[in-house]
């Protein structure tokens, strides 16, 4: 048992680290593309400078997202050989196609960065588009594997043998589309709010009204619009995702909501923690009938409770808290983005108050936390299965020993990578302040 827990912790940690950099790697190219397009449209040189600076940050982020992704991709075979045997036989397609997405991103990223001065502006935008597409496709395709784990399709297991394999049916498993959209739009939230975080911080540190302040304010507005829009899309698609749980993984939904008794007119409980003894959620706020409505669009929808399932198949009950935290963050980000937009565009205020800027600084880490909570909820909530009702986590794990020492080594490496990445980011942008970039471009243009 001990062995399995270390394996789970090791893989979970790898994923938790990779996801930070990978999500920024999906979200940031979209922001860069937005800035490039805004530059083409408005001819405001500031947007072009933003694109350049964000590309630099993106290159540093890639320096971690690619190695941690390589670790993820190889470690999944090393730690879960039982799982990968099934995946290799039935669900190889997304991994395979993902390779082409990696190539697309890698080729055009190098072209965009290292050949920028030798290709036409038109070709630069095309390269950037391919980079953004490559990142998006990586995320969508790997999410497909995750979707398959929850809603497996395209094969049967008879007497321990995998039979009736239909790889395309597995590829288009029932929750693929819904999950992929949710992951994609939530990555763009992160792209937006990471930029908002930096912009707000820089506004706090510079004299209001200066060129630098205005530059960052422009960046903030762009990121709030993008972040806000995608928060809305994420909430909508999250609702779809929850309905898909209702249909395909009812015990996960029951765990997420802390619902024990199967019932129509089920209430939605916000906050609190799930208590097994009293079979209820303590300290939560109950909204009557809401869960039934969310699950099936009708108040009389019957929602299954945990008691309908043998306890050994229950997901861990703390996923209720993770689920609430994710949704809460989504709602908050949506609200705060709309608020900023109103402040600037409707109330026409020139300056943002300090407290609001600090809130925007916090939004960057919050958006990342949203992603982390969502994933831990999704992966841990699937326990005890790696492939829902087909393959258990215990049957997937490696039989090789010595996991403890590997866990320590990998955690140490992740800390080293994360810390150096942050130091390099700080170092580079301290050495190359915005003002210099602005002055340099102005000189070039005179």
């Amino acid at each position: 048992m001990e062995h399995l827990i270390i394996a789970r912790s090791l893989f979970g940690t790898t994923m938790a680290v990779h996801i930070i950099f990978a999500t920024i790697g999906v979200g940031l190219p979209m922001m860069i593309l937005t800035a490039e397009l805004l530059y083409q449209k408005t001819k405001d040189i500031d947007y072009s400078i933003m694109a350049k600076r964000w590309t630099k940050a993106f290159a540093i982020i890639l320096g971690v997202s690619i190695p941690t992704g390589t670790i993820a991709g190889l470690q999944i075979t090393l730690l879960w050989p039982g799982f990968m045997k099934v995946i290799g036989t039935v669900m190889a397609l997304p991994f395979q196609i993902e390779i082409y997405a990696f190539f697309l991103e890698a080729l055009f990223m190098s072209i965009y960065v290292y050949a920028a001065d030798r290709i036409s502006p038109w070709m630069r935008n095309v390269s950037l588009l391919f980079v953004a597409l490559g990142g998006l496709a990586s995320a969508v395709l790997i999410t497909n594997v995750h979707a398959f784990e929850g809603t497996p399709a395209g094969f049967d297991i008879k007497n321990g043998k995998i039979v009736n394999v239909d790889p395309w049916a597995a590829f288009f498993n029932p929750s693929f589309g819904i999950n992929a959209i949710h992951v994609a739009v939530s990555a763009y939230i992160v792209g937006g709010f990471i930029v908002a975080m930096v912009a707000a911080y820089k506004m706090l540190k510079s004299e209001s009204g200066t060129i630098v302040y205005k530059f960052h304010q422009k960046a903030l507005m762009v990121s709030l619009i993008v972040g806000g829009l995608f928060s809305l899309f994420t909430a909508l698609s999250g609702h779809e995702t929850a309905q898909s749980l209702y249909k395909y993984q009812p015990e996960k939904l029951a765990g997420a909501e802390g619902l024990f008794k199967t019932q129509a007119y089920a209430p939605l409980t916000i906050g609190g923690y799930t208590d097994v003894k009293t079979e209820s959620v303590k300290w939560g706020i109950e909204v009557p009938w809401a869960l039934s409505f969310l699950a099936g669009n009708r108040f009389d929808t019957v929602v299954k409770g945990l008691n309908d399932f043998p306890q050994k198949y229950w997901p861990p009950l703390f996923i209720h808290t993770l689920f609430n935290a994710m949704v809460g963050i989504g709602m908050f980000l949506l609200f705060i983005a709309v608020f900023g937009f109103f402040w600037k565009k409707i109330l026409k205020r020139d300056l943002f108050p300090k407290w609001l800027l600090w809130v925007y600084v916090a939004c960057g880490p919050l958006s990342i936390l949203g992603i982390e909570f969502g994933w831990i909820f999704a992966c841990t909530g699937r326990q005890p299965w790696t492939i829902y009702r087909k393959l258990s986590t215990a049957d997937s794990v490696t039989t090789a020993g010595n996991l403890g020492i590997l866990f320590i080594l990998f955690v140490a490496i992740y800390i080293v990578l994360a810390v150096t990445a942050i130091l390099v980011l700080l170092y580079y942008f301290k050495r190359n302040p915005v003002l210099e970039d602005i002055n340099r471009t102005e000189q070039k243009n005179v």
């Binding site: 320096g63 790889p167 090789a400 150096t420």
Partner: protein
């Protein structure tokens, strides 16, 4: 029939990655070695090659692993289990190497320490990667009630393993110095060219000796594969012939005034040399993936899956092909890039 198609694809990936990987890790090592010799531009040349290519090269190793578990999932099960420790060591080194390589181009003030760390981690990786080969020969794998296990202690006391290890590192240095010599010549960097040409002249014979060491140690430690390789003895001789051709290529006079040697010719000859040798090795390895328990037949994927994956190979690489060509023309063949005087290492 499908099985042979699948193993050929896999062999292709192994070969492409081993060539690209050696260039990549080798270039990292040379850029570290010559970092203090600012006048010869040897480091610049290495970085000019490395900066745009490492990401693409890295993707090939992922493609290789994915190909193993898509095509031979049951072999992936055994490999995954026995390679936990060596595989994790590779991953740890690889992650530090890639990340610090990127960082070294961005944090100018810390270029040296970052380059040293990534260069040293990088040069160890080929040695560990190639260790997978002796492991698949079976001597170091125990199957106790169906569960495979790696015997680490006997792996690290095997001469054969060390021969492979040294072969990987010397080949890395040989192939990469050849390539960089060619690259320097195209870039009109004479000093760098002379440096890399000299390195290739030194490393070539060393890599050949280590290759012979592999054969000798295989005779006692992996007799089955040794015997089967010897059935293709003429091809092995052909491989040595191409090695000599490559070596001679560095000694002949050049059409370009002031240069000695035709490195382009040597690169092609050396690639052919490695291709033939790895064909002989791979052919002898068949039908085993891990001797004697796992064969390509016993571990092959479901036929439906294979067909689907095969279709994506064709479609995927056809679609990417123009991208690769464009990439090649921008970084390998564009005089403006190659002969850039100003610093491009960002």
């Amino acid at each position: 029939m499908d099985v042979y198609l699948a193993i050929t694809i896999l062999w292709g990936f192994v070969f492409i990655y081993s060539i690209m990987g050696t260039m990549d890790f080798g270039a990292g090592f040379w850029s570290m070695l010559y970092i203090n010799r600012t006048k010869t531009k040897a480091t610049n040349i290495a970085n000019r090659y490395l900066s745009p290519t490492w990401e693409v090269t890295n993707t090939f190793i992922v493609a290789l692993v994915v190909a193993i578990y898509s095509l031979f999932p049951k072999a992936a099960f055994t490999l995954g289990t026995i390679l936990l420790i060596p595989g994790s060591m590779i991953l740890l080194l690889l992650s530090v190497r890639s990340a610090f390589l990127v960082f070294s181009h961005i944090a100018e003030g810390y270029k040296k320490p970052l380059t040293y760390i990534s260069g040293i981690c990088g040069i160890l990786i080929p040695g560990l990667l190639i260790s997978v080969l002796p492991i698949t020969h079976g001597n170091f794998v125990a199957f106790s009630n169906g569960r495979p296990q790696l015997k680490l202690a006997s792996l690290f006391s095997s001469m054969n393993e060390y021969a492979f290890f040294m072969f990987a590192i010397s080949s890395t240095l040989f192939l990469s110095s050849l390539l960089l010599a060619d690259y320097s010549k195209a870039s009109n960097e004479k000093d760098a060219y002379n440096t890399y040409r000299r390195d290739a002249l030194i490393m070539g014979p060393i890599s050949l000796i280590t290759a012979i060491l592999i054969i000798i140690t295989l005779k006692s430690e992996g007799r089955w594969i040794y015997d089967k390789m010897m059935q293709n003895f003429p091809l092995l001789i052909l491989s040595v012939f191409f090695f000599i051709a490559g070596f001679v290529g560095l000694l002949v006079p050049s059409f370009k005034p002031g240069y000695q040697g035709m490195p382009r010719l040597s690169v092609i000859a050396a690639t052919l040399q490695y291709m033939i040798a790895s064909y002989v090795y791979g052919y002898a390895h068949l039908p085993y993936i891990i001797y004697p328990e796992v064969t390509i037949h016993s571990s092959f994927t479901d036929p439906n899956s294979f067909r689907a994956v095969f279709v994506t190979y064709i479609v995927g690489f056809t679609m990417l092909f123009p991208g690769f060509i464009y990439f090649w023309s921008l970084f390998m063949n564009d005089k403006r890039y190659l002969r850039k005087k100003t610093k491009v290492d960002n």
